[in-house]
């Protein structure tokens, strides 16, 4: 029996966002496309375990995220500087990974720990609820909230370095506060 075309269309409709998630996670278009392909192969081989009417994007994102994590663990043993590699691979495809003005943002995003990056992307860009994001990452909702908060705080710190002039006279105050108020 062939796959229900409605299910097939749900899978196809999810691919652009699934791929955006993959690129955002691993920072490399070619690796991301491999990851999406592997995800689709697994998903369609196990389509029976998908309950029609439930959340197709969440189901596919979970598969991709788990594949990425197991691959990431393997690679981390091989490559010490995983974060540096992430930043480097994003830079190597500037014409493919989006507009140049996001360079600074992508560099900052690359500096986040992987668990914070994935939580922020799922909630802030993919549009998943905190509950769905927690299910995708296999952790508690509170953990997702905490990771998203830490990711936002860290990004704000990283991006403020280059936009401190936007904040004018507050700069000196912020410098004093950053030093803990000691003179």
């Amino acid at each position: 029996m062939k796959l229900d075309p409605a299910i097939r269309d749900q899978v196809l409709a999810t691919v652009p966002s699934l791929r955006a998630f993959a690129i955002s996670l691993c920072g490399n278009i070619d690796r991301a496309d491999d990851l999406v392909q592997e995800t689709l192969l697994r998903a369609l081989a196990h389509i029976d375990s998908f309950e029609p009417g439930t959340n197709m994007p969440a189901w596919l994102f979970t598969i991709l995220r788990n594949l990425f994590r197991s691959e990431y663990r393997k690679r981390r043993r091989e490559v010490e500087d995983a974060e540096g590699r992430y930043a480097e691979t994003l830079k190597s495809h500037p014409e493919q990974t989006g507009r140049v003005e996001f360079e600074e943002f992508r560099t900052a995003l690359a500096k986040l720990p992987a668990d914070q990056r994935e939580a922020l992307i799922l909630v802030g860009a993919s549009g998943f609820s905190y509950d769905d994001a927690a299910a995708i990452c296999g952790c508690a909702v509170g953990t997702i909230k905490s990771r998203v908060n830490r990711a936002r705080t860290r990004l704000a710190d990283l991006l403020a370095i280059d936009s401190v002039d936007d904040f004018g006279p507050d700069r000196a105050t912020r410098a004093v506060l950053a030093s803990g108020g000691r003179s």
């Binding site: 196809l12 652009p16 999406v36 909630v123 909230k145 936002r152 991006l159």
Partner: protein, 82 residues
């Protein structure tokens, strides 16, 4: 074939970018109440982060479905399921 990459099912999903209040980090002994100005700056920075994150992500989404992945899905869908 229709351009399924443009399917906007994913684009109308709302995002959760409002700060979450129950953050354990606020237990930090160095923490102090934010001034009104700092809170405003924080919101502006957070709004910009949310905007840039979505803009970057949507750039990727708008690339649609690469032909080889669309072919893969159609080919596997047409095979007999086990």
């Amino acid at each position: 074939m229709g351009d399924r990459g443009k399917d906007d099912a994913m684009k109308h999903r709302k995002t959760n970018l409002e700060p979450v209040m129950d953050k354990p980090e606020s237990q930090d002994p160095m923490a102090r109440p934010a001034t009104h100005k700092e809170a405003r700056l924080g919101r502006e920075v957070q709004a910009r982060i949310g905007q840039q994150l979505r803009a970057m992500y949507n750039d990727f989404v708008n690339q649609g479905v690469p032909p080889h992945l669309a072919d893969l899905v159609r080919r596997l869908s047409d095979q007999d399921q086990d």
